[in-house]
Symmetry: C2
Subunit: 414 residues, 2 copies
């Protein structure tokens, strides 16, 4: 089965806004065994939208329209899809009554425009919207001799997700041919994309019945594996077999096999051991603390730390000796270690992290170029320092540095 | 003039990857007076890609294909566009020689697949790629009686941007009807979207020759204005007139009229005054420091600060009295003020910020619900505290809190 996702709205054709709903829908469709073969983005023009709908009807089995269901003149999805299907729109008295109630409750005046939200494509099922005024529509049936499923969903992600999960997912599953699909994701850090592929390609290439995709992001590689078999158990077994072989090959370079982020993994380990972490950050300027505290419950293992941009603060908050800063410079192995040790002591944490480096784009020198970062991890057993030279711009260098620091904690606790 | 952007690659039809090049291209096309009327995303299938190309040729004047120019069997853009145009592909001996040189230099073996990168649509101009092996193509000329401009650009953003800016932008400008377009962006904080629209709609609606768009993000509203006239000066004058009236209406709620972010504005003010800032963050966990230090040169005005997740650190790093924490709780007006004053003193900064609140999703209580945040700004003149109750999830609450804190600094320095 093949799907097309159509996102509607002139704002999606500006430089400022992007459709993200399709990523969410694609994930669910893939799990039902439906491939997305086209995504189309079209503005609020009835003619263009009707043409796009007709094209989609000719090439896809499942067609999902996102947006354009509101009460304004620009909301034309109902009309255009009805045109493309050659079906009339009918005003639904129950929906009219519901709109009247909704507006009366809020003390608003119902305008004729608002009433278009009660228009339903003939034969369609109305999908109530608990989070907004725009209802969705499910249109089934044959089109030019082929069975089609057509969904009209609202654009706001919270409305779309609730409607899709609660009212479409099970119904889609029951209408689609039963598929037994299993997926797994491995996340890897500390390895480049081509190095990683060179090591794992010889393995996954022998699993021709498992679809494997490598995705490289900043400081992280993801391996996505998908298998489709007669039964889910069989599909699961094949991806599991592949995962096992890849984990054997890559060892502790794999940090997650269930989709967790590096900060989540580090959080689990710290919580499991009942120990705490503190961080003194110079060039990452709080990004490491921000990542760690982005997780609810992180106060159980992350006590806090200091953003020690100035030398004075390196001394005041993390006890880095002034003479050390003078002798070795703020970006040095010695200062990284002192930051980690100092912040560990000052915060009374089990582990302390120190990061110092040149994030750029300015401030580099031949000896200490942009991208040079020292990462230190202090514990009862002593202090480990790792020097890295990261490529890319300020944002990338800072991200890479936090990946490296988190990975040091992970490896320490593994 | 109307454009269609076609992004090619099966990975863009997965839940994991999204085309972002089109946002960049749209911005430039808009400035040339070209509207983007469709965006299409299609996988690595020659048949589908050819159909998409034919459809685009029938409905747009400028068609930009992104990706699918590499050396693998999945790279089919050249073939498909040639098919759609009914033109042959010719192997370019100069490109073959260049590929041979490139591979010899790196000590790689040239495979027959690699040579397809030397195939050129008959009559097209080759666009060299200084950042990669895939050259781009510019195809001009009439198609079914109408003048078309067709660009084939590589997918990696750095390659696409360099090629577009250096080799396409001026040539496009010279081929397109001369347009005189002026744009402005106003950024606003401290106001909801509907409140903002209620105040500015009566103004911008009288400027029917200026296209105004309101975009609402987390803690920030953007007003985009665009005018097209006989001359650039005339267009500029109209958007400037509108901007002036809106700035008059909104006063200091407008924080930027040139696209700068709130942290950039705060940075400018601090630098202009030659003063410094420090921050003690509890619930924002380093996000404020991260935003401030994301800008190169921020060490000139941001000395650093502390992430004081635990009460012990609130006392140790920001001198918050233990009895105050006991009496009022960590999330209180008093503690916010003490954090701001303490961190200002400890960091020897001109201004000190303190943030404490309940980011959620857990940790809320009837008296101190999720979303409650206290923001304090300490200076020589005293300490100001603002209490806010933010909606949304942890990520949103934390973002809103940093917007509020930055805005307090902006207003202080204005």
């Amino acid at each position: 089965m093949q799907a097309e996702i159509i996102a509607i709205g002139s704002e999606l054709l500006t430089p400022f806004r992007q459709d993200t709903n399709s990523l969410y829908l694609t994930e669910h469709l893939n799990q039902l065994g439906v491939d997305v073969i086209f995504k189309t983005i079209v503005g609020d023009s009835r003619e263009r939208l009707t043409n796009v709908a007709s094209t989609a009807l000719a090439r896809a089995d499942v067609i999902i329209f996102i947006g354009g269901l509101g009460p304004t003149e620009d909301d034309l999805t109902r009309e255009a899809v009805a045109d493309a299907l050659g079906l009339p729109l009918k005003r639904d008295p129950e929906l009219v009554a519901a709109l009247e109630r909704r507006f009366a409750e809020r003390g608003y005046k119902l305008t004729p425009n608002n009433l278009q939200q009660a228009d339903v494509i003939a034969g369609a099922t109305v999908l109530p919207n608990p989070n907004g005024s725009a209802v969705g529509l499910w249109v089934g049936g044959k089109y030019e001799g082929r069975e089609k499923i057509i969904l009209l969903l609202p654009g706001p992600p919270a409305e779309l997700k609730a409607m899709f999960e609660q009212q479409c997912l099970e119904r889609l599953r029951s209408k689609l041919p039963r598929k037994a699909i299993a997926t797994r994701v491995l996340k890897i850090t500390g390895l480049g994309e081509s190095q990683c592929d060179a090591r794992v390609a010889p393995i996954y290439k022998t699993f021709i019945d498992v679809d494997t995709t490598i995705l490289a992001g900043a400081g992280e590689i993801q391996l996505h594996m998908k298998s489709q078999k007669a039964t889910t158990a069989e599909a699961q077994q094949r991806v599991d077999q592949l995962v096992e072989l890849i984990e054997e090959e890559l060892g502790d370079l794999v940090f997650s096999d269930n989709g967790d982020s590096l900060e989540q993994i580090v959080g689990y380990y710290l919580q499991m051991r009942g120990i705490t972490l503190a961080a003194a950050e110079s060039c990452t300027g709080g990004l490491l603390a921000e990542r760690l505290t982005s997780l609810s419950g992180s106060s159980r293992y992350f006590v806090g730390g200091a953003v020690v941009y100035s030398n004075h603060l390196k001394t005041d908050f993390a006890d880095v000796p002034a003479h050390m800063l003078e002798k070795h410079g703020a970006v040095s192995k010695e200062v990284a270690a002192a930051l980690a040790e100092g912040i560990r002591y000052r915060c009374e944490a089990t582990l302390g992290i120190g990061i110092t480096g040149v994030a750029g784009p300015t401030g580099g020198s031949p000896e200490k170029p942009v991208g040079l970062v020292y990462h230190a991890l202090a514990s009862e057993q002593g202090t480990e320092v790792i020097e890295r030279k990261f490529p890319g711009d300020r944002k990338r260098v800072r991200w890479f540095a936090t990946q490296q620091a988190l990975d040091m904690v992970r490896r320490k606790l593994m």
